[in-house]
């Protein structure tokens, strides 16, 4: 058994694909690439592929992390080369590294994500630099900030403030750009859209529905 850690991109062409469908597409690409993925034991064998974190529908990413276990040892470069040929438009592989068999599972260690968000003001509203900075300052100055959050059980009120580690913003033409580091994973999960809800509740007229969200980094602290 040989373990590999891959970094892949989820691009424009596949941004509207759910996490489950994205994983399946990736799994099929491995099969087309004839990469011998190992299977779990038992009645219902499934390929040993583990994604670090789920991406919401509509979000693109430069840095999704995936752990693979193969039936046999292959040079990392070869895995990368074979996979590149088989991936559908919009899914790219940045890096493949052979990793130690003792390394802890991705799911267990990844707990932070960095995002870049491009968003506009709602029609007929104007957001100038000062207004943006004041909203961010007010956001970061709060000890608690409750927003309506989409959860598996429908809309729920949640305090997201503790899951927001950094937040900064600037303007690019008509677009408002926001960079944020948020809590990710099993301990708690804050989505960029929750941060936008928070900013809106503080009086910033953002058009949340059409925000473009891009994940730039997954890491653990």
């Amino acid at each position: 058994m040989a373990r590999y850690r891959l970094e892949i991109c989820k691009g424009e062409e596949v941004r509207f694909i759910s996490h489950l469908d994205f994983m399946k597409a990736f799994e099929r690409a491995l099969r087309r690439a004839k990469i011998p993925v190992a299977f779990s034991e038992g009645f219902n064998p499934h390929p040993k592929i583990a994604f670090a974190s789920a991406l919401p529908v509509g979000v693109t990413s430069a840095c999704e992390l995936v752990d693979l276990e193969l039936q046999e040892e292959l040079p990392a470069a070869e895995v990368k080369q074979r996979l590149e040929k088989a991936l559908p438009p919009g899914i790219k592989v940045n890096a493949v590294n052979r990793c130690h068999d003792k390394q802890p599972a991705l799911m267990a260690v990844i707990n932070r994500s960095e995002y870049l968000v491009r968003v506009q003001a709602i029609p007929d509203a104007v957001i100038h630099y000062q207004l943006l900075q004041e909203a961010i300052k007010s956001f970061l100055g709060k000890d608690a900030l409750v927003v309506e959050k989409k959860t598996k059980k429908g809309l729920r009120e949640r305090d997201i403030r503790k899951g927001v580690y950094s937040l900064r913003g600037w303007l690019e033409g008509n677009d408002i750009m926001l960079e944020m580091v948020l809590q990710t994973g099993t301990e708690g999960n804050v989505r960029p859209e929750d941060v936008l809800s928070g900013l809106i509740s503080l009086g910033l007229p953002l058009d949340k529905d059409f925000a473009r969200v891009h994940r730039t980094r997954l890491f653990s602290v």
Partner: protein
């Protein structure tokens, strides 16, 4: 740029944006400026259903193989997307290029079930194309339709320019050639249709006049144009083994109904169930050889990466080389995490043997279709399954560790009595008892699902003359059966009687029911086969709008001497044969399968100059 606008402003607002991407693996994006003819395949239901359709996969591949033509896809947008399109005034677009459907030369609808007809009108309207064929000149795309429901094309006669009867891969190139030439010659719409009418298998409804006795009965139908034949004969592929079969199908991102390799092993079925339209219109049986199947399977796995190969056909256990093909596929693929599955099994021990072979990772529910509850009624419908067969099959299944089985029945079949309904409950009870005995300690997990659909008489079947039970009778039978099936181990499902009733109106209707269709669509009917969208009240109001009585079409016994609305469509199976089968049914006499017995005289081989093609007659050689 329309694509960017749709992606950035509309897709974030819909429930399943992956329905509208058009960028799936193996989708084909041709340069519009380098082809002569653009076709869009239109499936009048949502993406997930349409993308599971084998006909689309085949035609997409066949048309795109030609350098001078392209084919793109369009599905019925779900209601959330429709609302956005109408609100923003964006015409219906094709998935690959995002170009408006209206800019294509041909819009080709597939007619898989009657209750998708309102979606056809809605899609034309969303595309900005007049729904009535008579309101379209050559500036609009040619609207054609094919598929099983085209065998009674009359309900759609006012909306479709030309129907293609039979198997598309056989006739489509001829249609494309005619349309291409007509386009170059700048022919009028009528001129183009006159040429199309000369292609065997093409039916142009406007070139025929119908005389009526009354609303629901016709006196005759005859051509009013010298180019139109008195009878339109179906087209079929003579040699399915050599026919072009796509091995690079589009792989959807979305979880579609059949998200797996669909490897067609044979076409047609000659078991001769008397209610079954597919069994009549796809004759004769034509098989692929094991060599062909293994080659296609290999290419399909390499090109798609799917983890399941489904051996598809109307009845895969009837494939003459099924055992060796299955064995070879399993030998090759089981080590690679690729499963083989059999979607259609008979209720007999042989089928269980096959199912056992297919050591699936997760045991699926096994489904059997005895269709009727007594041997008498099973003989009437010519369903060659006995109670012994069914019990042997379910018994073997329980022994093998299956704990859930589904039993399919039909209610409202010709000659049905209370006795037959009781028979359903008794049979289900026997299966439960057997399960409890065979499963022993695991009996707690036993589940027997009984599904009762309602009989719908279909064109070109021995039961085409038969009336359907009226809604009240069907509902009464459903209630009666529900009362008999009160067992913790049995789950009883039944089909919506109102929906089956409308299905019968369209399966046996003439041109007049087209008016109802239009009225219903104008009242907002769409996605009728979707429970939450279906509105029976709107449909009834539509019948009142056009002053037609639905019962006259669904619940009337047609005379055997009567001219039927689809008599000018020739499926190869003779009307005399159907009448003879109908007579035999009423006597309870069975008819055997010509694959295993003598020719039944259905007429399809002599009429179309074809022959059965069974590969297992000579022992299949080593592969």
């Amino acid at each position: 740029m329309m694509r960017d606008f749709i992606r950035n402003r509309l897709l974030p607002k819909v429930l399943k944006p992956a329905r509208y991407l058009g960028t799936e693996l193996n989708s084909i994006h041709k340069d519009w400026d380098r082809v002569d003819l653009k076709v869009v395949f239109a499936f009048p239901d949502v993406y997930e259903i349409g993308m599971s359709h084998l006909g689309l996969r085949i035609l997409y591949h066949v048309v795109n193989k030609r350098p001078d033509t392209l084919m793109e896809r369009v599905f019925a947008p779900w209601v959330d997307m429709e609302e956005l399109l109408r609100q923003q005034n964006i015409p219906l677009f094709a998935l690959e290029s995002y170009k408006p459907v209206k800019e294509f030369d041909i819009v080709a609808f597939t007619l898989q079930y009657e209750m998708s007809f309102t979606n056809i009108l809605n899609m034309l309207d969303l595309a900005g194309i007049p729904v009535r064929a008579g309101d379209r000149d050559e500036s609009y795309p040619l609207v054609i339709a094919g598929g099983p429901c085209a065998y009674n094309p009359e309900p759609l006669a006012d909306f479709i320019d030309a129907f293609v009867i039979g198997e598309g891969e056989e006739v489509f190139y001829e249609v494309l050639d005619v349309v291409k030439t007509a386009k170059q010659e700048k022919l009028s719409r009528t001129g183009l249709l006159e040429r199309l009418a000369q292609v065997q298998g093409v039916y142009v409804p406007r070139f025929y006049d119908v005389d009526y006795k009354d609303d629901a009965a016709i006196a005759g139908i005859r051509p009013n144009n010298p180019n139109a034949p008195a009878k339109v004969t179906k087209r079929l592929v003579r040699n399915i083994d050599e026919a072009d079969f796509p091995t690079s199908p589009i792989v959807p991102y979305l979880e579609v109904v059949h998200n797996r390799i669909m490897l067609e092993v044979l076409r047609g079925c000659s078991r001769g169930c008397r209610f079954c339209q597919a069994g009549m219109i796809y004759r004769p049986v034509r098989e692929k050889s094991p060599e062909t199947l293994l080659r296609q399977a290999e290419e399909l796995v390499a090109n798609t990466g799917y983890d399941e190969i489904s051996l598809s056909s109307l009845s895969t256990a009837d494939y003459s080389c099924v055992e060796e093909t299955l064995k070879k596929l399993l030998d090759i693929y089981s080590g690679h995490g690729v499963n083989v599955s059999l979607p259609s099994l008979r209720a007999d021990a042989f089928s269980i043997e096959l199912a056992k072979e297919v050591q699936r990772v997760r045991r699926p529910t096994l489904t059997f279709a005895p269709e009727a509850g007594t041997q008498r009624l099973r003989d009437v419908i010519n369903k060659g399954v006995t109670e012994e067969d069914l019990l042997a099959a379910t018994g073997a299944a329980f022994k093998e560790g299956w704990t859930a089985v589904k039993l399919y029945f039909m209610i409202g079949l010709p000659t049905e009595t209370e006795e037959d309904l009781r028979g359903i409950a008794e049979l289900a009870g026997k299966v439960v008892a057997l399960g409890q005995r065979e499963l022993g300690a695991k009996a707690g997990r036993l589940k027997v699902t009984v599904s009762a659909s309602s009989f719908v008489p279909k064109a070109h079947t021995p039961f085409q003359w038969e009336p359907q039970n009226d809604i009240d009778t069907l509902k009464e039978k459903q209630r009666f059966l529900a009362g008999l099936l009160k067992n913790r181990k049995i789950k009883f499902n039944w089909h919506d009687a109102e929906l089956s009733f409308l299905e019968a109106v369209f399966s046996r209707g003439n041109r007049k029911v087209g008016r109802v269709l239009e009225a219903a669509w104008r009242r907002g009917c769409k996605f009728d086969s979707w429970n939450e969208q279906f509105s029976y009240d709107k449909w009834m109001a539509a019948f009142a709008d056009v002053r037609l009585t639905p019962e006259a079409f669904a619940c009337r016994r047609f005379g055997v001497e009567e001219v039927l609305p689809w008599d000018h469509i020739d499926a190869g199976v003779g009307k005399k044969f159907l009448a003879k089968e109908y007579e035999a049914a009423l006597k309870g006499a069975t008819t055997l399968d010509c694959r295993f017995d003598r020719c039944t005289g259905c007429g399809v081989c002599p009429n179309l100059g074809v022959d059965l093609d069974i590969k297992g007659r000579e022992a299949c050689g080593p592969v």
